[in-house]
């Protein structure tokens, strides 16, 4: 019966473009079945006025370009702390534009149908799921949304006895996989993601170097470039202007302490989540922990996490290969694996 149904509804491969999207707080990525992949910073900017529009020559800017021209645009980062920021029309519109832009980047054929699987922060899926679905629907013929850590797990083939920890900008999402679709009880969300680290780091640096002019964007770049936990062999020195003159500042301790502050909550949530399962299952999960998201790139984080978890048993933590695209790739794999009859219901 199912096979017959599938036969009548299956499209030719070229008729449908499967895409996987990772709609992230900080960066959004897309992977398509035509082999194209791309990503963009999750910023949307509308020129503030006629002059700005004329100068920029665009009605709307995305990602790094929007960020660079932030003084000339109304800059919106629509997802904050893992949810559509304030639920305002502007935020929803920004999500729509961002998705439209992303889909354009993989160049779907003119008459190709788009079947999209979209990974969103677990918190967004919980709080804004209908809004997000409505937002995406405009640009896809059929779509499914899933939580981001689940998309990563699917892409990694970590479907059973595994824990994915997605350290994103807005949130840190945990998802236990045990061979079935994870439920809310299998997931946790912390708000100590990258943005939290940025704010903490900015606070520490401003306090430590009151004369220097640090800003949030700059601090984020420092974190991404120099972020580490645990021991370090060298010092982190950056040049920041003081009264107009470039001055070198040693920010090693601030970076170390701030990045290290995310370890304890991650350990606590990990133990809390795993402890709910059977001991036998716990042991398997402990050896199958995957770190994803930008935070997985913090130097030393795997060692530090394993050390911190040591008192609870033997843990094996690994980072996914391609964190920037792990969510999008996973969502794409899911989109491609999804039976056609399921897609038919999702239009």
């Amino acid at each position: 019966m199912a096979a017959k149904k599938r036969k009548t509804t299956t499209k030719k491969a070229d008729d449908v473009l499967h895409i996987g999207i990772d709609l992230g707080t900080s960066r959004s990525a897309i992977a398509a079945s035509n082999g194209k992949r791309n990503w963009v910073e999750s910023y949307v900017g509308w020129p503030k006025d006629f002059v700005a529009r004329k100068m920029l020559g665009k009605e709307i800017l995305f990602g790094e370009e929007a960020l660079k021209n932030r003084l000339s645009v109304q800059l919106v980062r629509p997802l904050e702390n893992g949810v559509i920021r304030e639920g305002t029309d502007r935020d929803v519109e920004a999500v729509k534009e961002l998705l439209h832009h992303l889909i354009g980047l993989v160049e779907p054929g003119e008459n190709q149908k788009i079947h999209a699987a979209v990974g969103v922060p677990a918190e967004a899926l919980r709080v804004n799921k209908l809004a997000i679905r409505d937002t995406v629907r405009e640009y896809a013929d059929a779509l499914m949304i899933v939580s981001e850590p689940f998309a990563v797990a699917y892409g990694q083939g970590a479907l059973n006895n595994a824990l994915v920890i997605d350290i994103g900008a807005g949130t840190v999402d945990f998802c236990i996989m045990h061979g079935t679709m994870p439920g809310e009880e299998d997931q946790r969300t912390l708000t100590t993601g990258g943005d939290y680290v940025d704010r903490q780091l900015l606070g520490r640096l401003t306090e430590r170097f009151p004369a220097a002019s640090f800003n949030q964007t700059q601090v984020r770049h420092f974190k991404e470039q120099y972020g580490f936990v645990g021991k370090t062999n060298g010092r982190v020195k950056v040049s920041v202007p003081v009264e107009g003159k470039p001055v070198e500042h040693d920010i090693t301790d601030a970076v170390q302490q701030t990045c290290g502050s995310i370890i304890a909550p991650i350990v606590e949530a990990t133990i809390d989540l795993i402890a709910r399962y059977d001991p036998e299952f716990q042991d398997q999960v402990k050896r199958n922990i995957f770190l994803a998201g930008g935070g997985s790139q913090i130097r030393g984080i795997i060692t530090e996490l394993e050390d911190a978890l040591k008192e609870y048993g033997s843990f094996k933590v690994a980072a996914v290969d391609d964190p920037l695209f792990a969510g999008a790739d996973g969502a794409l794999a899911l989109a491609q694996d999804m039976p056609q009859e399921y897609w038919d219901e999702m239009g």
């Binding site: 949810v83 061979g179 100590t192 943005d195 999804m338």
Partner: protein, 355 residues
């Protein structure tokens, strides 16, 4: 690190079907069935206050079951003719066993009492700003904002009627708040406040519930009734009333403990120095008047300048709302389903034996 796709094709198909079904639910705006959460079916005839008698009777069944099992397990003890009164023994048994469990779990969960209407009570408002921080942040604004965020979060489940005692910046008297909760037939009542402390360096979290002391006499009376020690109508009514008090007290305490736990954990993530002042009873009029599980959460401390600064960050207020949401849901999920199953099993055993 790519795995070798250890899951079977069946696993994969199962997961894909799960994704599909989850999305169907989203499209239809349905709630995903969650494990161990009380059912949210509105049944006006058997709402909280009206269910006290049912719950008390169920308590009696549990006591009887405990007693029965105890007697089955230890007939020799019975034969030995202990001088201890049976009722007292059951009471002791209950105190040591079921009550100990109940202290860490929800009776509402045990009896599968529904929670449908949640009333959120943003403290202060209008000409009453509550406490004010050094930078001018007013408690009334914070409580209203957090309550709105919490309502949005709870609304997203589609399973609750979430109401607020005030929707905007206006003064609502305590008696009006209580009356509102009663009129709306609230099942849970959560009052949101922000603290002010003489020591401005201190940040703390505390959650209050109203209650006097745990009335063990209520439980003992019920135990005695179960083993055949007859109570007069008046005594039975008294026992029911006190059972109701105990349930409200216990449920409020449980709800407060749950909220306190999630709230503190959440705040500790951004402030390692925050102090956990725990869930505790306090003489708050607004809690006294409400007949259902009710708590008053002091979600932050406005007298601390750093905390005040955090409270002006929407993300932090969202975090607080998330913590309150998690506390409420953790309470509703109640880990005692299994215990109830055990209790029910005891009851079944009794019936079987009677047969």
């Amino acid at each position: 690190m790519k795995l070798e796709r250890p899951a079977t094709r069946e696993d994969r198909n199962e997961i894909l079907r799960g994704v599909y079904e989850e999305n169907l639910r989203i499209v239809r705006n349905e709630q995903r069935p969650r494990t161990r959460i009380v059912r949210f079916v509105r049944a006006p005839a058997t709402r909280w206050t009206g269910r006290v008698a049912l719950a008390a009777l169920a308590l009696l069944v549990i006591f009887g079951g405990v007693q029965l099992v105890r007697e089955i397990q230890a007939p020799e003890a019975r034969a030995a003719g202990t001088e201890e009164d049976a009722a007292a023994r059951i009471a002791r048994e209950f105190d040591a066993g079921a009550a100990a469990q109940a202290a860490s779990a929800s009776i509402a969960g045990v009896f599968d009492l529904e929670v449908r209407t949640i009333v959120l009570d943003p403290g202060h408002g209008g000409y009453d700003p509550g406490t004010t921080g050094r930078a001018g942040t007013r408690e009334k604004d914070i409580t209203l904002d957090v309550a709105r965020r919490l309502r949005r979060r709870l609304d997203a489940y589609g399973a609750f009627d979430v109401l607020m005692t005030r929707e905007d910046d206006r003064k609502v008297h305590l008696r009006e708040r209580v009356a509102f909760a009663r009129e709306q037939r609230a099942d849970l009542f959560v009052s949101i406040h922000v603290n002010a402390l003489p020591d401005t360096a201190v940040t703390s979290v505390e959650t209050y519930y109203f209650g006097l002391t745990e009335d063990e006499r209520t439980l003992r009376s019920a135990a005695r009734e179960n083993v055949g020690s007859e109570l007069s109508n008046a005594e039975f009514r008294d026992a029911l009333d006190r059972a109701g008090e105990t349930m409200k007290f216990q449920e409020s305490k449980q709800l407060a403990t749950s909220i306190q736990s999630t709230l503190f954990r959440s705040i500790r993530q951004v402030n390692a120095d925050a102090r956990d002042w725990g869930a505790k009873s306090g003489p708050f009029v607004v809690l006294l008047g409400v007949e259902v599980p009710s708590v008053l959460a002091e979600i932050a401390v406005l007298s601390n300048p750093t905390e005040e600064s955090r409270l002006n960050d929407p993300a932090h207020r969202e975090r607080l709302a998330g913590a309150l949401e998690a506390g409420i849901l953790a309470y509703l999920r109640g880990p005692l389903s299994e215990s109830m199953e055990s209790a029910t099993h005891y009851g079944s055993q009794e019936e079987k034996d009677d047969d």
